[in-house]
């Protein structure tokens, strides 16, 4: 069984890295050997801990977007009963399902072969560098689009929220949502960030930065919640004590909530490049220092 201190450290690490576009799984695989912790992601004792941390993170996301989720759930049942979409809430509900199903199915089918990668910090380091490349490429595409619009005579506004050229989540087509959902499956690889790859896909699809993050967090919630809930029946003798489990879930949830609030505020003006450089640097450090 893992020590309470290590579990709380992993909870804080999970809370920050699950929502920042830097891959929580990649960090859980690469960071412990980098800082000399005797811990492996493949340890059987980690599965119940991870399930608890996922539940904490999912609770934070549900709380952050509680009003959206209330409207989405009501919208889903309305649309499901009528068999047609007639307002933005119903549309968003169906978009989230359409975007979640590909990752759910791919993850479920490939979970065993993918788990073999969890014990390989060097593979995770390579995927972290790839994740940095994805974030950087998404920002490059966005800048090119802004330059093209500027040379075409369109006014590019400093605040994206004022710029009609970039959309809110509700403006995405269902086809684009499926593509973003398939992209999200890439995050099953340790080192590829779920939030990073969906934010990148959202930016390329024409969302504002803040909306790309909102879409990413909304899409991530059912997957993170399911990842936690589906492991609950398998919790056995390796599970931490109730007190440690509750403390870990609370730490993961609080840190995730603060991270999400920070990221949403940052992305009103900021871009994903710093996260791209960070991922590339951590991946390079992992490749050089872990043998």
């Amino acid at each position: 069984m893992l020590s309470a201190g290590l579990i709380l450290f992993l909870a804080a690490l999970q809370g920050v890295t699950e929502l920042f576009p830097v891959s929580s799984l990649g960090h859980a695989v690469v960071v412990p050997p980098l800082i000399g912790l005797n811990f492996r992601e493949t340890s059987p004792a980690f599965v119940p801990v991870l399930a608890i941390l996922h539940l904490g993170t999912a609770a934070a996301l549900l709380f952050l977007y509680r009003r959206d989720w209330a409207r989405i759930i009501v919208g889903f049942f309305r649309a499901a009963v009528r068999g047609r979409i007639s307002d933005p809430d119903e549309r968003l509900a169906i978009m989230l399902i359409v975007g979640t199903v590909p990752t759910g199915i791919i993850g479920f089918l490939l979970q065993d072969p993918l788990k073999s990668l969890f014990g390989d910090p060097r593979a995770a380091s390579v995927f972290l560098i790839v994740n940095g490349g994805i974030l950087f490429a998404a920002e490059m595409f966005r800048r090119r689009d802004e330059r093209r619009r500027a040379t075409g005579g369109a006014q590019v506004l400093a605040h994206e929220e004022d710029d009609p050229a970039y959309e809110r989540v509700e403006g995405l087509s269902l086809r684009t949502t499926v593509i973003v959902g398939v992209f999200q499956a890439g995050a099953l690889l340790p080192g590829i960030s779920r939030s990073g790859i969906t934010m990148a896909a959202g930016l390329v699809a024409g969302l504002r930065h803040e909306e790309a993050a909102r879409f990413s967090f909304l899409l991530a919630t059912p997957i993170i919640l399911a990842a936690g809930l589906l492991e609950v029946p398998t919790l056995g003798s390796d599970a931490p004590t109730l007190l440690v489990a509750v403390a870990a879930a609370v730490v993961a949830g609080l840190v995730a909530y603060a991270s999400a609030r920070f990221l949403l505020r940052y992305l009103r003006l900021g871009r994903l490049d710093p996260f791209a450089y960070y991922c590339a640097a951590l991946g390079a450090a992992g490749l050089v220092l872990i043998h």
Binding site: A79, V81, V101, G104, F108, D112, L230, T234
Partner: protein, 69 residues
């Protein structure tokens, strides 16, 4: 979106298959499409239950709708 009766029926057939798979995994110790020794696979059962519900909802979306006045 215009409805399609064949697509709707196909999705309903899929829903029935998913439902049978869910019942199978809830009630039978098996290692079919699962790793490890034969056991009740709750994860598989829950996933197939969710897929059943989604297939029913999709069938409802795909069915032809009467034109409202």
């Amino acid at each position: 979106m215009r409805g399609s009766r064949p697509l709707s029926l196909l999705l309903l057939v899929l829903a029935v298959i998913f439902a049978l798979a869910a019942v199978f995994y809830f009630t039978t110790k098996t290692s079919f499409l699962a790793s490890g020794p034969p056991a009740i696979h709750f994860k598989h059962a829950i996933v197939f239950t969710v897929l059943t519900l989604l297939a029913v909802v999709a069938a409802n979306f795909a069915r032809p709708k009467s034109i409202q006045a």
